[in-house]
Amino acid sequence: MTGQAQNPKRFSISSVVDVVQARRSGLELALKMGFHPAEANKVAVVISELGRNIELYAGQGSITVTPHTEVKGQYIEIIAEDQGPGIPDVARVLKGGYTTSSGMGLGISGSQRLMDEFEIHSVVGQGTRIRAVKRMQ
């Protein structure tokens, strides 16, 4: 995908507090871009879900939120990266049902449903990179 990136915001994630601050910034950014509140809400929730996964499984990582403008319209790109244990079975995680002590097993699979594009690149023992895109309707 090509598009003009504008001022990416990078959030270091190592605690739930970081996640809360990142999702709040993501919500404000989406609203400022002109996203409908319901769509902006989805951006915030996906940042929250991916951030929680980083904090829970990898301990630390980052989330970068970038607004893009292209001829077809505007979109927000979310990239979550960590050098954690990786996901052994990505297909199963995408299918949903993975439950943890703190979530509902919806983190990844639910996030995928909320976004227009969703890609996972994960290598066991090296880390995970997730890219998600939400387009302005």
Partner: protein, 159 residues
Amino acid sequence: MENLDITETSTIQKLENLLLVAVPRDLTDRDVLKLRRQVLEETRRYHSQWVLLDFSRVDICDSFFGRFIQSTARMAGLMGANVAVAGLQDAVIETMVELGMTLPNIHAVLDLDDALALSREGETDDGLLAMESPGHAITDSLSLDSPFDDSTFIPPTEV
């Protein structure tokens, strides 16, 4: 690590047989644990038969929040109380549904008035008696203008 600058705090109030919990918009894991314990303590203290989680200030509800609602409902249920959720914003609801979040056995009401009406009905959806409060018997024409024990209640305006 949980030193988030949260200016909003949760407030818990007793209202008839209902415990009204105003949930802050951003909760950390530690906040959630603390709030859940407070809710259970107050439920026991006041013998509340309904717990109303007011989400009107919450504008981001992820699956962790969903689990908070579920777990609070299960725990309150073991104390004999029902849990209702009120004030969910449109945007939050849309995301919750698309995320795939389900909240079984939890009542959803629009606002405090509906929660009070529900708590006065006396029966839950599964037919179990939920309250036996004298003076608040089930009536066909429920009057919301009747006096209440709790002075914090603001009677709704008539429509």
